[in-house]
């Protein structure tokens, strides 16, 4: 499950909520779904927050392209 992309985890989570909403599943199955749902929700939150948010520039003047931090003027942001 850790390998899921955010959108995949979100889609699964939405599907689980939808299944639970139909209310036709046995309690035991609902609880299982609930557990997966909780794990998926946590994964979603984690994926949302784990991104680093770097701003870089790809420089390729001399041969192999390299990444460097891109300095943004603060007043522009």
């Amino acid at each position: 499950m850790k390998d899921l992309k955010f959108e995949e985890a979100l889609a699964k989570l939405e599907e689980i909520v939808r299944q639970l909403e139909t209310g036709e599943l046995p309690l035991e199955d609902s609880l299982k779904l609930f557990e997966s749902g909780v794990a998926l929700a946590r994964l979603c939150s984690k994926k949302l927050d784990e991104a680093e948010g770097k701003i870089q520039i790809l420089l390729s003047e001399d041969g192999e392209p390299t990444r460097e931090e891109f300095a943004v003027e603060e007043d522009a942001l």
């Binding site: 992309k5 955010f6 959108e7 979100l10 989570l13 939405e14 689980i16 909520v17 639970l20 909403e21 209310g23 036709e24 599943l25 046995p26 309690l27 035991e28 199955d29 609902s30 609880l31 609930f34 557990e35 749902g37 909780v38 929700a41 979603c44 939150s45 994926k47 949302l48 927050d49 784990e50 991104a51 680093e52 948010g53 770097k54 701003i55 870089q56 520039i57 790809l58 420089l59 390729s60 392209p65 990444r67 891109f70 943004v72 003027e73 522009a76 942001l77």
Partner: protein, 398 residues
Amino acid sequence: MHILEVRELTDKIKAALDKPELQNVAVTGEVSNFKHHTSGHMYFSLKDETSRIRAVMFRSRNRSLNFVPQDGDMVVAVGSVGVYEFSGDYQLYVDWLFPAGAGALAIAFEQLKSKLEQEGLFDRAHKRQLPFLPRTVAVITSPTGAAVRDIISVARRRHPGINLLVIPALVQGADAPASLVRGLELAAVQPDVDVVIIGRGGGSFEDLAVFNDEGLARAIVHCPKPVISAVGHETDVTIADFVADVRAPTPSAAAELAVPSYLDLAERVKYLESSLQRQVLDRIKHGRRYLAQLERSGALRRPGERLRPLRMRVDELWTRLVSIAGQQVEGGRKARDVLVAKLDALSPLTTLARGYAICQDSTGRVVTSYEQVQPGQELTVRLKQGRLACSVLKGEEK
């Protein structure tokens, strides 16, 4: 009187025409009798109401022409007047040809547009979907222009966690298309780049025409990652806009398209998480009512430990529910209090521990009435330890 040969006379005429004012002249007129010969040379006439002059534009010259002249086109031709000895014609040897009025760039734009359109490069079916949550957004543009600043600013505001990778490129001048194509090639091989924005801020028609380049158009189509074009202002339309997977009216708008709003996503997750809790609480309430009903019906005559695993499971989930509620950032404590209150209200569920069985049909549906089953139907009865496969003998109301 000296009698000249035709060749001699022709030479004199050539010499007479070889004057600075007939060399490198610009003349405007309407194209007629245009022929693009298989040799590659173009033959036509330029005319106005009263006059006409033959014209030729050799292949070496017309190769760089970015439009195809047609009869009736008003053009400006730049060239030199000379004599074609073989037919005795004087004619204009054209070095450069521009459409008058519409403008060379506009004509070139329309011609390239219809050419690529006919090839199917604008088809919606080819367009790739933008990623839901990109890891890295590549921005191919001038690193010093207004566009890059706008894009970074909007992207940061929407989701500070998304990486941005600026890939510098020239966005004006003759070298710009090749530079932009190189940028696309670099973006294509960056494994973390999930979407590409290519563009520049506003400028003159000539400045933006860099994005009307055929090679660039093809590079955009062939880029393995989704490409958002973001050229100039809302009203500026370039060939890049037609071939891109998504056209953004401005660089800022491109950033909005590429970068999802963190708040929207976080709220969606939070909403789903609370739906989960609500659903499960509803289920537990429902189960409690069902158990109460069982108790009242007196169907279970052996109170004991049978449902302990289920109760333990439910307890465990309660704990998790409480812990999740406690973790919610906004109103965490309040949500937790509400939930704990709810759970306390549900405490009769502990009667589960006294040992009941759950009867389910083959689809897993809980059987709550004799009317739900037929004699002979197989049912599963869950016990504290394991389950029983049973067959219905008969159903009775009491």
